[in-house]
Structures are given as structure tokens and as C-alpha cells.
């Protein structure tokens, strides 16, 4: 039997607020363990939470970007469970009345475009971290992350393939970063994903038994884990058995999932409204204020790039994949208006170097002005295309401008016709046999002569002029 996968994703995104969700401690990553704490986030007796309004604004941004309905009244609830990284032994979250519901997002897998429903977006606080030392009989607790605001974005079970799951996650990720509400760093855990997956026969409308997958810390791992799980469930079903409802942990090393806890072992979180926090009222005016300040989102930007700069869909997709890259492109085009040329340079040269250097800020080494200058020097014939690529790498390494590098290394292109004609004549004089063959019809030898001239000038000769002069001189000898 052919099966269809039914996938729903739960994404946790850390909000980029300066202070924590319910106290004024900093959210800065990487500080000395337990230094970003106060009596409130340490869960001392008698402390009370006060909600960070900035976190609300950020969540409303995401809710609007995901086409959600924003509830005028939402409530914080306590999710009760015991763990040493949770000082109060309950997490402040939202349960029955989340901030936002009923949204959707468009995804594009390259082969098709689909709408994925978003069930809800709610706010909650992050837990701390346990640090285990195998050589010791105890573990350390770091509560710096405790109370950092998170949003949880829950999708409808609308996703059908691991590729769609990855496309959905990339779209969410890109929007979060565009909105400047999450740094999207998956390794540091600012963007985390759990998946629910079940199978059903193609054409069926009911739902099969699902498993929940955890511990996938990259887009690729989400895809791998889902594929593994789909294959595993297919085998289970085909052997006539039934899938067990459980939580499974993905192991990135082996690419497999294994059972973590069964349905029976699942926590009873005993949710109830948090009596320390009043129902949260979000006014129409506040929502409209946030809406009016929303930046252009990735899909809108892509469409505008295609129209305004006449770029192919592929270019527009790549350039708008991050807000920084899109801004870089636009800032460069403002100085050097040949959009397609800029797009080519950004997509090939710049992205290649950024990837090699594991850098995500395009203007970190080469500003838009520096790229525009290089492109102009190329147009003026000061440097050849080939030289420009070498210079660009130099610029990336050193941070110097193109003109500075050209001057420093004496890289100015030789375009002086007299100087080049002398060289051309010398090359032809030195190769009588090849000249004869050329005259005999083997015209592809022209490239060989160009190469000789370039070699003699260590690549600085203007190739167009060399070409022209060679043709003239060979003509004379013909």
C-alpha cells in the first residue's frame, strides 16, 4: 500500500528582547553561568512575574506576518512539571487562550507552492540548562536562559513531505529574522523544532497514530529525521503491526530515531491560569500600530525584486533569502544600477566567500560601495573580469578597496596599444610554426597567442585589445 505522511511542526523561537519575559535580567548569550539571574527568575519564595511588553510586541509582529487572528484577551497558564532547570517547577506559558490563532503561511518547495495552516502562536518562558559531567555524581544547573521569552508556533498537520517541512521551517525562519525578533541561530537553540508525524493510506482522510520527534537542530536534520521516521512507520505498517504513540529522539550521528518515552509516561502538566498574571488584553490600536511598522516580508520583497529589477525568480529567491543580503543588493544597485550584474556578483562571488568564511553579514568585509566601485572599474576597462574576481577575493580578505589593491599590487590593466602591439609582434615572431598553421586554417590557435601575450604581461593585458591587435598582425602576415 502507498502511504501519505501527515506532518505538523512545533517551532520554538527565542525572542530578541533585551530583558527576560518576566523580570529585568539580560538575555545576553554566553555570560558566566547563573550571572543573568535575579530572585524572580531563580524562583525564590515570594517573587512575582511582570510581563515584558516588548515580548508582546514581537509576538504580535510574528502573528501578523503569519496571517493569524490576534485574541483581544489571552491568558498565561502554568505548565507544571519537575525538572532542575525549571526553578519554579512550572513554566509560564499559554494554554487555553493563546495570543494568536488561525494563521497560514505560503511555502515553496521549488516544485509547488502550498499554504500551511498555523494553529496557534503563544508566548512562554524558556527553561535553563543542565550541564552534565560524566566524571561527577552530580550535574550543574545554569539558569541564565531561564525566563528568556519564547514563542511557540504550532502548524496544522498540513505538511506532507520532509521537503515541505524544510521549506516551511525555512520560511518561518526567514520571517523571524526579517522581523528582527529572533536571531534564528539553530545551534545555540534560538530556533528549535519538534515534529509530529503519522502515516495514512493515500486518499484516506483520517489520521494514523503519530510519533513526536525531538532533538533536530538543523533544517537538514529535520528532513532526515522525518524521512527516517516515515520509512520506519511504513515498515511497521507493512509488516502488519501498529505504530506506537510515543516521543522519539533523533540521533544526528546515526540519522535514526529511538523511543524516548511512551504515551503512558507522558507528563500531566496540570495547566491552569496563572493567578499571578492578569488576563492579557491586546487592543486593536496596538495591533494596528505594530502592523503599520511591519517591514516588507520575504515573499513581498521577492516579488518586488522580480518586477523592479527585472531579475529572474531564482535570483530574487536567493537575494531575499535574508534581509541583510537583500539590503546589500539594493544598496549596491543604488550606486551601480546594472541590477543583473550586481545580482550575479552577489550570488556567486560574495555568497561563495561568505560561505567559506562562515559569515552571515554580507557587508561585514566588502561594503556595497566597495563592490560598486569594482564593477565600475571593470566597466571602464581598468581591470578585466578575471582580474576583478581575484581583486574581489583580496578585498574580502583584507577589507581594502579595489583601487587600493590595484595600486598596491600594480594590477592596472595594460591597454596601451603601442606597448601591446610590440608584445604581440614578439609573440608572433617567436612562433613561426604556429603562425603558419593559423594561416593554414587552424584559427583556434588565436587563443594560444592571446595566452602568450597575457602570460608575458602577467595577466594585465586588456584581452579585448590583445585580440584586436593579434587579428590585425596575423592579417598583415597572411
Amino acid at each position: 500500500m502507498e502511504y501519505e505522511a501527515v506532518i505538523g511542526l512545533e517551532v520554538h523561537a527565542q525572542l530578541l528582547t533585551k530583558s527576560k519575559a518576566f523580570c529585568s535580567c539580560t538575555t545576553k548569550f554566553g555570560n558566566v553561568p547563573n550571572s543573568n539571574t535575579c530572585p524572580i527568575c531563580l524562583g525564590m519564595p515570594g517573587v512575582l512575574p511582570v510581563f515584558n511588553r516588548r515580548a508582546l510586541e514581537f509576538t504580535v509582529r510574528m502573528a501578523l506576518a503569519c496571517n493569524c487572528t490576534i485574541n483581544e484577551i489571552s491568558r498565561f497558564a502554568r505548565k507544571n512539571y519537575y525538572y532542575p532547570d525549571l526553578p519554579k517547577n512550572y513554566q509560564i506559558s499559554q494554554y487555553e487562550l493563546p495570543l494568536a490563532e488561525h494563521g497560514w503561511m505560503e511555502i515553496d518547495t521549488g516544485t509547488n507552492t502550498r499554504k500551511i495552516g498555523i494553529t496557534r502562536i503563544h508566548m512562554e518562558e524558556d527553561a535553563g540548562k543542565l550541564i552534565h559531567d560524566e566524571t561527577k555524581a552530580f550535574s550543574y544547573v545554569d539558569l541564565n536562559r531561564t525566563g528568556v521569552p519564547l514563542i511557540e508556533i504550532v502548524s496544522e498537520p498540513d505538511i506532507r513531505t520532509p521537503e515541505e517541512a524544510a521549506a516551511y521551517l525555512k520560511a518561518l525562519h526567514s520571517i523571524l529574522v526579517y522581523l528582527e525578533i529572533c536571531d534564528g541561530n539553530m545551534e545555540e537553540g534560538s530556533f528549535r523544532c519538534d515534529a509530529n508525524v503519522s502515516l495514512r493510506p493515500f486518499g484516506a482522510t483520517g489520521l494514523g497514530v503519530k510519533t513526536e520527534l525531538k532533538n533536530m537542530n538543523s533544517f537538514r536534520n529535520v528532513q532526515k529525521a522525518l524521512q527516517y521516521e516515515i520509512d520506519r512507520q511504513t515498515e511497521v505498517l507493512e509488516s502488519g503491526e501498529t505504530v506506537v504513540q510515543e516521543t522519539r529522539l533523533f540521533d544526528p550521528a546515526s540519522g535514526t530515531t529511538s523511543s524516548m518515552r511512551s504515551k503512558e509516561e507522558a507528563h500531566d502538566y496540570r495547566y491552569f491560569p496563572d493567578p499571578d498574571l492578569l488576563p492579557l488584553r491586546v487592543t486593536f490600536n496596538f495591533v494596528e500600530q505594530v502592523r503599520s511598522e511591519l517591514p516588507e516580508l520575504p515573499v513581498q520583497k521577492r516579488d518586488r525584486f522580480m518586477q523592479e529589477y527585472q531579475l529572474p525568480r531564482y535570483d530574487a529567491d536567493v537575494l531575499t533569502s535574508s534581509r541583510m543580503l537583500a539590503d546589500y543588493f539594493e544598496n549596491t544597485v543604488a550606486l551601480y544600477p546594472q541590477a543583473k550584474a550586481v545580482s550575479n556578483w552577489v550570488m556567486t562571488e560574495l555568497l561563495r566567500l561568505m560561505k567559506a568564511a562562515n559569515e552571515d553579514n554580507p557587508s561585514g568585509r566588502i561594503s556595497p560601495g566597495m563592490l560598486a566601485e569594482l564593477l565600475e572599474l571593470m566597466d571602464k576597462g581598468v581591470v578585466s573580469g578575471k582580474m576583478a574576481k581575484t581583486i574581489f577575493e583580496d578585498m574580502y580578505d583584507s577589507g581594502h578597496t579595489a583601487s587600493a589593491i590595484i595600486e598596491q599590487k600594480g594590477l592596472v590593466q595594460v591597454s596601451d596599444e603601442d606597448e601591446l602591439r610590440a608584445l604581440v609582434c614578439k609573440v608572433l615572431d617567436d612562433s613561426p610554426k604556429e603562425v603558419a598553421k593559423y594561416q593554414g586554417g587552424k584559427t583556434q590557435l588565436l587563443g594560444h597567442f592571446v595566452g602568450q601575450v597575457m602570460k608575458a604581461t602577467r595577466g594585465k593585458a586588456n584581452p579585448a585589445i590583445v585580440n584586436k591587435l593579434l587579428l590585425e598582425e596575423l592579417d598583415k602576415r597572411g
Binding site: G43, V47, L48, N80, P87, Y271, D276
Partner: protein
């Protein structure tokens, strides 16, 4: 002239202002009294005489520099569930027996700021769960009027301290009657203000939606002084209500003639103790003579108050007390082989049986499949009770009723019968459920000379009415002037 420790804060404020005495004199008098009677009463968990004298000296120095407010230099005792930076705050529990908070509760900070002299921390039922101060890890407090009897609870230590002259003023907290009941049993005045009037920041939580801090004093005038200090919006408490509070001392002389007092049928039909009935009748006569009209009214859902309270309060408590796990502070068991056992043994050793009972009740009621039948139903009952009061207050300015069904009961009398103990709070719990202000005033004595209180209830944020009525009542009566012979 009476001893300084016997005087009211109001009287002492006048003496201090006149320069007749200084705060060190007053404080020393109270400390001497504590040394004499504390052994008999056990009102305190921690007495800090040296620190108190230091604070008294500081307040005298402030006064010498021109500072002047009516609480400057007045000794006060604080219930052991309000955090005092660097001072042991145990909540009457073994699990916090050695806990010193790293911060001050907002009310403690306010008392420091006003230059009050903090004598120490008062005994209480463990985590404020109880009506007799018998569930304290530190042993029971005794009623200064009869040491075989309880002072009521849970703020029994705070009430007993004021009653026995071991403090001039004190603060307690009231979740289901924990200020009003001990005030009644100890013959002092006590008020639970409107929920949201006094910051809960730094009050170790029992049931967050019901807990409210309030003052104890020897008369209504002393309560008005403390209320002026304590009633303020606090941005650190999201449930603190942002509003302007009046100067409560300005209404002490306001006439009450023409005001209407409601008598809820459901309360009075429950009375079956002759002394309590007599005290209530006497109180009615006093108010009648003051020109007050009475109206009989009905609060139909009152009977469900206790049942709903014993769902909501334990539910919140089961979550509030989850943090005491031996990981970060407080008691940790010594022998355990894994994390779960550390939790289990630390909590098994750290909590007493009443606390465990309520944690289990709450955990059960919140469990998946039971939430709707218990918590949600109780929340609905709570709304109905609130609605009952709202309708009642359309026909009257305040409600008069007993504080407790009986005079103080004996130590040990109800401790093994939780239901009987819970029923002690039948008249006080509905006030917490509705978040209303409630005042407990000495109303007379039983045949065998034990104090019996009366309770006045007003609409939200109408503490002013309670003070007006209380002041008028105490002008006509002398129950509040009686002192236990100890």
C-alpha cells in the same frame, strides 16, 4: 501611666513627636515584655532584639534630623511569610527552616523606609495553611487570653504578639480568614484589605489569587496608620491595582449615621453558639444607636464557599509550593540515590501533614480529566459568590457578620479533624473568594472571658467605610481596650 508596650501606635506617635520618649525606650519596653511573656505565648519564630534596637536608634536619629511620620520608630512584628533580606524567613516550615531571602518584600521595604522598628518574624501555620497556628514546624502559638487555646490562624503569632504586648503593630496575611480569625480570637483589630490593595511581592505564596497582606493593631486608628503605609500600587506585582488611596486617618471622625448595614440571612442562620449570637446582637444595638439602618439580605451561594475554596486554594498551592524541591534553597534530604528521590525525600521531610494534604488535593484537582469538574467548577462558584456580594452591596454600604462560629477553641481540639478545622473559616472565606475588604474588631467576650470578634465587609476598595464604621463602633465600646492578664 501604662507601660509603653501597652500603648497604641497612635498614642506612642504623639509621645514620640512631643519628645517625651524615644523609639529606643519604646523598643526596649517591648523587648522586655517579649522576654517576659514569649515563653508562655510563643508568638515569634525569630526575635531580633539587637537589630530592633539598631533600627530604633536609626529612627531616633532620623527624628533628630527633622524626620516625622506617625510610624517612625514604632515597633512592628512581621508574619514569617514576608521576605526580609538576609533574615531567616521560614513560613513556619521545616523546608525553609534555614532560608534567608536575598531581597525585601515590598511591605518590608516600606516599613524600613518609614523608619519602623522590625522586632522579628511571627509564628504561623505552615505556609499559612491552618486556622490555629498549630501546623507550624516551630510548635503552636498560645492564645494570650487562655494559653490552652489557639490564637486562631494562620497569622496567630502576629495577632498574639499585639494582644500580649509583644508588639505595638503587626502584619499578617489572609487567604481564607488568616488575619480576621486570629484578630477575633486574640481580641485585637485586623483587616484584610481588597485583593490588589497591598503588594504581594515578597509574600511567600500560598494561594496567589486569594492571599492578601493586612495590618493588626489594638484599635482601628492603628490600623488606619498601617494601611496608609501599605496600600500602594506596586509595579512588581501584576495583580496590584494602580489607583490613588485616600489618607485613611482622615475618616476616623466621619459620622456614620444614615449608613445601611446588610445582615446576610445565610450567615446568621448558621449561628449556634450563644456567646457569638449575643455578641452579634450587641453589635447591632451599638450600630443602631449610631443611626445605622439594617437590611436583611441573601447571599445564596455562600454555602459553597468552603467547598470551592478547598479546590482553588490547594490547586494554586500545589503549583506555588512546587519550587521547594531541595535543588536551590531550603531543606534537602541527606540520603538519596537519584534526582527523583532527592525531590521526594526533601519534600517528604520538609513539609508537614496539612501542607501535604493540600498539595495532594490540588494536584488531584488539576489532573487531566478532573480539571473541569473541580477547578473550573470552583472558579464558577467563585464568580457566583462575587456576584452575590455585588448584588448585596446595591442594598447596603457594608455587611455585618461574625468572624468565626465559636470563641477560641482548645489546642489539639480540631487538629486531627481537618473538616472541622476548615469549617472555622465559613464566615471569612467568601470575602477572599470575592476579593473584598474585611475588618475584624473585638466585639465582646464569651461567658468564660474569651474574646469574640465581629466582621464588617465592604465593596472593593471601600476600606474607608470599614474604618469609618470601625472607628464609630470603638468610640461606643471598650472591648478593644481589654488586655489579657498574662
Amino acid at each position: 501611666m501604662s507601660e509603653l508596650y501597652e500603648m497604641t501606635a497612635w498614642q506612642l506617635a504623639e509621645e514620640l513627636e512631643k519628645g517625651q520618649v524615644c523609639s529606643v525606650d519604646v523598643t526596649q519596653s517591648v523587648i522586655k515584655r517579649i522576654e517576659t511573656v514569649e515563653e508562655l505565648v510563643h508568638a515569634y519564630v525569630t526575635v531580633a532584639p539587637d537589630r530592633a534596637i539598631e533600627m530604633a536608634k536609626e529612627s531616633d536619629a532620623k527624628r533628630a534630623k527633622g524626620a516625622s511620620n506617625r510610624l517612625l520608630g514604632i515597633p512592628v512584628a512581621v508574619k514569617d511569610n514576608m521576605c526580609m533580606k538576609g533574615q531567616r524567613t521560614t513560613c513556619g516550615s521545616r523546608i525553609l527552616a534555614n532560608f534567608s531571602p536575598p531581597y525585601d518584600a515590598t511591605v518590608v521595604a516600606a516599613m524600613r523606609e518609614a523608619g519602623m522598628v522590625i522586632l522579628g518574624s511571627c509564628n504561623m501555620d505552615e505556609f499559612a495553611m491552618g486556622s490555629s497556628t498549630e501546623t507550624s514546624f516551630w510548635g503552636p502559638t498560645r492564645n494570650p487570653w487562655d494559653r490552652d487555646r489557639t490564637p486562631g490562624g494562620s497569622s496567630g503569632g502576629s495577632a498574639a504578639a499585639v494582644s500580649a504586648g509583644e508588639a505595638i503593630l503587626s502584619v499578617g496575611s489572609d487567604t481564607g480568614g488568616s488575619i480576621r480569625l486570629p484578630a477575633s480570637f486574640c481580641g485585637v483589630s485586623g483587616m484584610k484589605p481588597t485583593y490588589g490593595a497591598i503588594s504581594r511581592y515578597g509574600l511567600v505564596a500560598y494561594a496567589s489569587s486569594l492571599d492578601q497582606i493586612g495590618p493588626f493593631g489594638r484599635d482601628i486608628r492603628d490600623l488606619s496608620l498601617l494601611l496608609n503605609l501599605l496600600c500602594h500600587h506596586d509595579p512588581k506585582d501584576s495583580t496590584s491595582v494602580p489607583r490613588q488611596y485616600p489618607d485613611f486617618t482622615t475618616v476616623l471622625e466621619t459620622p456614620v449615621s444614615g449608613m445601611k448595614i446588610g445582615l446576610p440571612r445565610e450567615f446568621f442562620s448558621k449561628l449556634d453558639h450563644p456567646d457569638v449570637e449575643r455578641v452579634m446582637k450587641d453589635a447591632q444595638s451599638v450600630f443602631q444607636a449610631l443611626g445605622i439602618n439594617f437590611v436583611e439580605l441573601s447571599l445564596p451561594h455562600l454555602d459553597y464557599g468552603i467547598a470551592a475554596y478547598y479546590i482553588i486554594a490547594p490547586c494554586e498551592a500545589s503549583s506555588n509550593l512546587a519550587r521547594y524541591d531541595g535543588v536551590k534553597y531550603g531543606h534537602r534530604a541527606e540520603n538519596f540515590s537519584n534526582m527523583i528521590d532527592m525531590y521526594r525525600y526533601s519534600r517528604a521531610e520538609g513539609f508537614g501533614s496539612e501542607v501535604k494534604r493540600r498539595i495532594m488535593l490540588g494536584t488531584y484537582a488539576l489532573s487531566s480529566g478532573y480539571y473541569d469538574a473541580y477547578y473550573l467548577k470552583a472558579a464558577k462558584v467563585r464568580s457566583l459568590i462575587t456576584q452575590d456580594f455585588r448584588s448585596a452591596f446595591q442594598d447596603c454600604d457594608a455587611i455585618l457578620c461574625p468572624v468565626a462560629p465559636t470563641p477560641p477553641f482548645k489546642i489539639g481540639e480540631k487538629i486531627d479533624d481537618p473538616i472541622q478545622m476548615y469549617l472555622t473559616d465559613v464566615f471569612t472565606i467568601p470575602v477572599n473568594m470575592a476579593g473584598l475588604p474585611g475588618l475584624s474588631l473585638p466585639g465582646g467576650f464569651s461567658a468564660d472571658g474569651l474574646p469574640i470578634g465581629i466582621q464588617l465587609i465592604a465593596p472593593h476598595f471601600e476600606e474607608v467605610r470599614l474604618i469609618q464604621l470601625g472607628a464609630a463602633y470603638q468610640k461606643e465600646t471598650d472591648h478593644h481596650l481589654a488586655r489579657p492578664s498574662i
